[in-house]
């Protein structure tokens, strides 16, 4: 099979991605941090750091704890605010030939709306990822994503002002994630991204103190992959809109598994910290897999898990 004929392009809403491999918010900065290691233009997309209306200093150090096969973080949406993003960061990244998504967060519905309005004006930003699942902020964040009425309220309000592709990033810290997914689909989400981190904690037995300044934080890395895979599969059964799957993807095999569970695109998160060039290896590995399995079009893998 001729590699050049492999079709890796996928679509979410009206937006085409050259391949399904993206990098996850909060693990990839804004892109320039990775220019030494990878060709960013080869990626299907990037989701830049969570952005809020006003600047946020984030939580106090320590904000990170290493755990078996994973890590906790409690960064708390440190960012310089949407104005600095639009005026200083966007000009630096607008010429990337990849789909740049901005992860939008807020403490109130109004803050989400105002931030999304500003991002809507940016010509080279084709989409937002509405973050209703950050576990590390006192107000807003995950609180919006853990009940159907609040998830609907923020998604509906942002949909009124944001005209391009909008995916909603869901929290795994819920009883039934499929219900939340259906609720945001009904009010106009173009896609669902999942999962954000799992609420977790670490204690240092010697000092008898919590490792994180915030006591609890979000668990990521391969430790959460089986949970993420299950949730992607459940949501894929429940909604018609496409899914961006993530949670502990370390290599191309993991990526393929998420697609088989029902993801149209995948996001690489924590693995970027271990190997800043991992995203390129995932694209290469997906191509190899397609050749080995005689798959011409990657879309045939989406939800392609075989029945027992």
């Amino acid at each position: 099979m001729n590699t050049s004929k492999l079709k890796l392009a996928v679509k979410i809403g009206n937006l085409e991605f050259k391949n399904p491999v993206m990098t996850a918010s909060g693990t990839f900065g804004y892109g320039p941090e990775f220019e030494d290691f990878i060709d960013i233009n080869r990626l299907g997309g990037i989701v830049v750091k969570g952005t809020t209306l006003n600047a946020r200093e984030g939580n106090n150090y320590p904000r990170m704890a290493e755990t078996p096969s994973g890590m906790l973080n409690a960064v708390g949406l440190q960012n310089k605010g949407v104005d600095v993003f639009c005026n200083e960061i966007y000009p630096r990244i607008q010429d990337y030939k990849t789909n740049i998504f901005v992860n939008v967060s807020g403490s109130t519905v109004e803050e989400y709306v105002k931030t999304a309005e500003r991002i809507n004006e940016l010509e080279h930003i084709p989409g937002i990822e509405l973050n209703i699942s950050c576990p590390n902020v006192k107000e807003g964040g995950m609180a919006f994503g853990t009940s159907c009425p609040s998830a609907v309220a923020v998604t509906h309000a942002v949909r009124q002002v944001y005209k391009k592709t909008m995916v909603v990033k869901l929290s795994p810290n819920v009883t039934n994630i499929a219900d939340i997914a259906k609720a945001v689909e009904a009010v106009g989400a173009d896609g669902i991204s999942l999962i954000n981190t799992l609420l977790a904690m670490a204690i240092n037995a010697e000092t008898r103190r919590a490792v994180l300044s915030t006591t609890t934080g979000g668990l990521s890395g391969p430790a959460i992959k089986p949970i993420a895979l299950r949730m992607v599969w459940q949501v894929a059964q429940a909604v018609k809109i496409p899914i961006m799957g993530m949670g502990g993807i370390m290599n191309s095999t993991d990526a393929i598994e998420f697609m088989l569970a029902g993801a149209t695109a995948i996001q690489i998160g924590t693995a970027n910290f271990i190997d800043p060039s991992v995203s390129m290896k995932v694209i290469d590995g997906i191509e190899d897999y397609m050749k080995r399995h005689h798959i011409q079009d990657i879309n045939s893998l989406i939800g392609g898990m075989l029945q027992q």
Partner: protein, 262 residues
């Protein structure tokens, strides 16, 4: 802090030597495939520990010394946990996955100036390369090394090549007895810069002494990190311009810029 840009690499490097110093310390000598002459003192590398569930993230390790002609980098490492224990078992001929060079360097004084380097425990790691660079620039280099006992005082012969070495041990087994920060050399006020690396409390005390004598002071911080390249925002320290990443805005900071009491 110097902001010279050097392209970062992530590579499998050949281990040339793993030299055991004592039960706690070892020096890993690795060879890079590229020119390394642009590496600077204060910069660090991030090492991947293979075959473990517990050391999931890379281990940030200071650059102890470089040998540009052989393209080798020396890494002085203290065994503190499972990650560094596994690294201590690596052998010459094996390979190790290293992300480098990371972070910003110490600023280098000009010829004729006087520098004091203060290193506690494994905090001496970034100071040898600094001493060498300063010495070669014609700076008058003084080096104060300290630890609990003589077991923690290592590599003094190497430091003596580049400056006058002073020692403090808490048990009095070598040099002056007492905390490093009580050493008599710190009563002198004619230094143009104090550079320091070691435990947090030690660096704060050194910074206070420097401030009292109105001497510029740079410290190398070692907060817990995930990425090492400024993308995860986990290793922040409070500064006068807000939270800054130790990995990419530091690890070297002028103490005037830090908000240590926040």
């Amino acid at each position: 802090m110097t902001t010279t840009y050097a392209k970062k690499h992530v590579n499998l490097l050949n281990i040339i030597e793993n030299k055991k110093i004592n039960t706690q310390y070892f020096i890993l000598k690795v060879q890079a495939p590229h020119d390394i002459s642009n590496l600077l003192p204060g910069q660090f590398v991030n090492i991947l520990v293979a075959d473990t569930r517990h050391a999931f993230l890379r281990r940030p390790i200071s650059i102890y010394d470089i040998h540009p002609q052989e393209r080798t980098i020396d890494l002085l490492i203290q065994v503190v946990g499972e990650g560094t224990h596994l690294l201590s078992k690596l052998k010459a001929g094996e390979q190790v996955d290293i992300l480098y060079p990371l972070g910003k360097s110490f600023s280098l004084l000009e010829s004729g100036k006087i520098a004091l380097l203060v290193g506690g425990g494994v905090g001496i790691a970034p100071l040898l390369f600094l001493a060498k660079k300063l010495y070669r620039k014609g700076v008058d280099v003084h080096i104060l090394l300290g630890g609990k006992g003589s077991n923690n005082i290592i590599e003094t012969k190497n430091f003596e090549k580049y400056g006058k070495v002073y020692i403090a041990t808490e048990d009095g087994s070598q040099g002056e007895r007492g905390l490093l920060t009580q050493h008599s050399i710190l009563r002198k006020s004619d230094f143009d810069m104090i550079y320091s690396c070691g435990p947090d409390a030690m660096m704060r005390a050194v910074a206070n002494i420097a401030a009292k004598h109105t001497i510029e002071c740079e410290v190398s911080l070692e907060n817990m990190m995930a990425c090492g390249i400024g993308s995860c925002l986990c290793c922040v320290t409070p500064t006068k311009s807000g939270h800054q990443c130790v990995c990419s805005d530091g690890p070297v900071f002028n103490t005037k810029t830090l908000e240590w009491n926040k």
